[in-house]
């Protein structure tokens, strides 16, 4: 690392533990209307996200549709220019990078998309699809490149003979493998998996999940795993962050988040998932949230969850809860009245607001 870069990282308070960090990241999409296309409002898709992604971990990112998960993923990769905030990759703010330096960073950050049908160009052969990142970054050439692509195909469980075939000849699960091969082609450090198994049949999901886990071990990858299926996220993640209306409402170690959720939203999400265990299902007490997710164009005042929260007080309507540590530094939740151990979510909170005098 050059001296200038070292000074730069120091300035950002970079500890070396986090591969990627976002600070107060915001993405407000303008809503345009009328003949003059004037901006009449903003969709606050991502609204102030502070997130740390540690080296070698899998960070799960969950939330309902429209909560900003995918937008956050695109901001991290700088596929979208954020309205405000910083994205630090190894301590350096990549939002200040020019095109050329950005290209260098992109080598280390890749993405796997949700829809294996839409994310592969139907006119390109599988070989060309997987070779494209190598071509963009001028890695290897000719026969050597072809050999590398065939290697990659083997790594993800396809056959090297598939090189000259086209995407339509493959099933959904196989296509997702092609997407994975493309993502790992440049030996990246970070892969963002944006709902990689949601479009797949249940029997195929496990194949892709196991493949991702094997690759992580083999190539020392860091994953951000976005999904709305909380069981899959629990299976693959080390830490999990829960998003609601463009904000992180809770982030914790996997065991803590699933075992001792503090935020009422996390707790009710967990109670809403049906488990494939009929006896447990019969005994379960479910907290059914009322209403829908509010529109991010017109989010509620105060805590974004107060409109659906069974514990909400007047205080929550007026004040925005910060994402604060709970029992441990690693378990953070943005709630004034967090759910305590053994407490039912519907029990109205009687205590004074958390950490507020």
């Amino acid at each position: 690392m050059s001296e200038a870069a070292a000074v730069d990282t120091q300035r950002n308070g970079y500890s070396g533990e986090n591969l990627l960090e976002t600070r107060n990241l915001k993405m407000h999409f303008p809503i345009k209307a009328g003949v003059l296309q004037r901006t009449v409002g903003h969709v606050k898709a991502v609204d102030g996200v502070d997130l740390q992604i540690r080296k070698g971990e899998t960070l799960g990112l969950v939330g309902e549709s429209g909560c900003g998960k995918s937008t956050l993923a695109r901001l991290i990769l700088r596929l979208l220019e954020p309205t405000d905030g910083e994205v630090l990759f190894e301590g350096e703010d990549i939002l200040r990078y020019d095109r050329k330096r950005m290209l260098g960073v992109r080598r280390n950050m890749q993405i796997i998309f949700q829809d294996p049908y839409a994310s592969l160009n139907p006119r390109m052969s599988v070989g060309n699809i997987v070779a494209e990142p190598l071509k963009t970054h001028n890695v290897s050439e000719g026969a050597e490149r072809k050999k590398r692509v065939q290697e990659l195909l083997e790594v993800v469980g396809l056959s090297p003979e598939h090189y000259n075939r086209y995407p339509h000849e493959f099933s959904g699960g196989q296509r997702q493998r092609i997407g994975v091969a493309r993502a790992i082609a440049l030996n990246p450090r970070l892969i963002i998996c944006d709902e990689p198994v949601s479009a797949l049949d249940v029997s195929i999901q496990a194949q892709v999940v196991n493949l991702l886990q094997d690759l992580q071990k083999e190539f020392d990858l860091t994953y951000v795993f976005i999904a709305h299926d909380l069981s899959v996220v629990k299976h693959i993640s080390d830490r999990v962050a829960v998003m609601y209306l463009g904000k992180i409402v809770e982030v914790a170690d996997r065991k803590d988040l699933y075992g001792r959720p503090r935020h009422p939203y996390t707790a009710s999400l967990l109670s809403a998932i049906p488990v494939p265990d009929p006896r447990k299902e019969r005994e379960r007490q479910r907290v059914v949230l009322t209403g829908d997710v509010p529109s991010p164009a017109n989010p509620p005042s105060g805590c974004p969850f107060h409109t659906r929260c069974p514990r909400a007080q007047d205080y929550c309507v007026e004040n925005v809860p910060p994402l604060e540590p709970q029992e441990t530094e690693d378990h953070r939740a943005a709630c004034f009245f967090p759910v305590k151990e053994g407490q039912r979510i519907e029990e109205p909170a009687t205590s004074t607001p958390y950490r507020v005098e």
Binding site: E64, S65, S171, G173, Q174, D201, V202, S203, I204, Q205, A206, Q207, V209, N210, H228, L230, S231, V232, K234, H235, I236, S237, R254, Y258, S268, L269, L270, S271, A272, I273, P274, V275, P276, D277, P278, R279, K280, E281, R286, V288, L289, T290, D292, V293
Partner: protein, 339 residues
């Protein structure tokens, strides 16, 4: 007497490449107030089974070479279309997966529900209006008078599905077929819809056929489960039997391939190898043999029929119960699954 009885139903589609046996000999019966879960991957014939009961498969290409669907003493495969129109929506109603495409965007929601009511019941316009508002209230839509005048695009996904349920239940059907009713919805909304369906079932005693690929939803709602693979029922038993003691390797593999909230992260998933077979070129012998973890030589030759392996527990596998149990515990030990 069973409310709905399907016997050896076969639904075949003629295509340029050959005959697709989308449903190939499926039987089940449904009692009043009971819920049957039909589970399977896409292309396993779940939806075609449902559409056959509703007689909604276009003929041609669909044909029903064999079987019968008995409802109220009549075989629905033989009743004239006029009579079928009286049954459809009135006695047997259906909820589809995607509420956006199953509602007409150019009519108000109230208008569409009223249409269903007026076709089947002899009510005046004002009476039908009142009934519309009442069913919308039943499914928990706030401000129903106003909402009835709105168009589907003004409804959120969960509310559209509520409106679909309101429409389906407006004529108090005896049988409700729900084809992946919550697949397009978020979990918190899914929980709302499933709770609503259970409440309405208790209130009206409706029999429900719940089609889904989500084993969690099935274990929450179903009394009995039928697992389908490549157009056939491969296991059919009570929900507890299928989940705790599956006797068909496919059902068992499905359960082992799913991450579960209680064991997730500690147990490695057991994927099912390969992909579902093409319905035109089915494998020799058992349909599942190329993907089966317990496959034997005989499986490549013998095509097993659905037979009773334990009392009330049917499965289609040539392996004996003991062989299946041994195989299951062997693989479970390798995976580290505690029983």
């Amino acid at each position: 007497m069973a409310m709905l009885e399907v016997n050896n139903l076969k639904t075949h589609f003629k295509t340029q490449d050959g005959v697709v046996k989308a449903v190939d000999g499926v039987s089940y019966s449904l009692e009043p107030g009971e819920t049957l879960g039909i589970v399977g991957e896409s292309g396993s014939g779940k939806s075609v089974t449902a559409l056959s009961v509703m007689q909604l498969n276009p003929k041609p290409p669909a044909s029903y070479p064999e079987g019968e669907i008995l409802f109220g003493g009549q075989n629905l495969l033989e009743v004239p279309e006029k009579r079928m129109q009286q049954i459809r929506g009135n006695d047997i109603a259906m909820i589809f997966q995607d509420p956006m495409t199953s509602l007409n965007p150019v009519f108000t929601v109230g208008n569409q529900i009223r249409e269903a009511i007026r076709i089947h019941q002899d009510l005046s316009k004002t009476e039908a209006n009142e009934k519309t508002v009442q069913v919308l209230t039943d499914v928990g839509i706030a401000n129903p008078e106003q909402r009835a005048k709105e168009y589907p695009h003004q409804f959120s996904g969960g509310m559209r599905q509520r409106a679909m349920i309101a429409m389906a239940l407006s004529c108090n059907p005896k049988v409700l077929i729900a084809d992946e009713p919550t697949t397009a919805l978020d979990v918190t909304i899914q929980a709302q819809i499933l709770e609503l369906m259970v409440d309405l079932q208790e209130k009206y005693g409706t029999a429900i056929v719940m089609i889904t690929h989500d084993l969690g939803v099935v274990s929450q709602l179903a009394d009995k489960v039928m697992v389908m693979y490549a157009g056939r029922a491969v296991e059919h038993a009570t929900t507890d039997d299928v989940f705790y003691d599956p006797l068909m390797p496919y059902s068992w593999s499905l359960l082992r391939s799913l991450p579960r909230l209680d064991t997730a992260g500690e147990v490695r998933l057991l994927p099912i190898r390969g992909t579902p077979p093409s319905l035109i070129f089915l494998p020799e012998g058992c349909n599942f043999n190329p993907r089966c973890p317990f496959v034997k030589d005989e499986c490549l030759r013998i095509d097993p029929a659905l037979e009773e392996k334990k009392p009330g527990h049917e499965a289609a596998c040539i392996l004996s119960v003991e062989e299946i149990e041994q195989n299951k515990s062997r693989v479970d030990q390798e995976l580290g699954v505690g029983t």
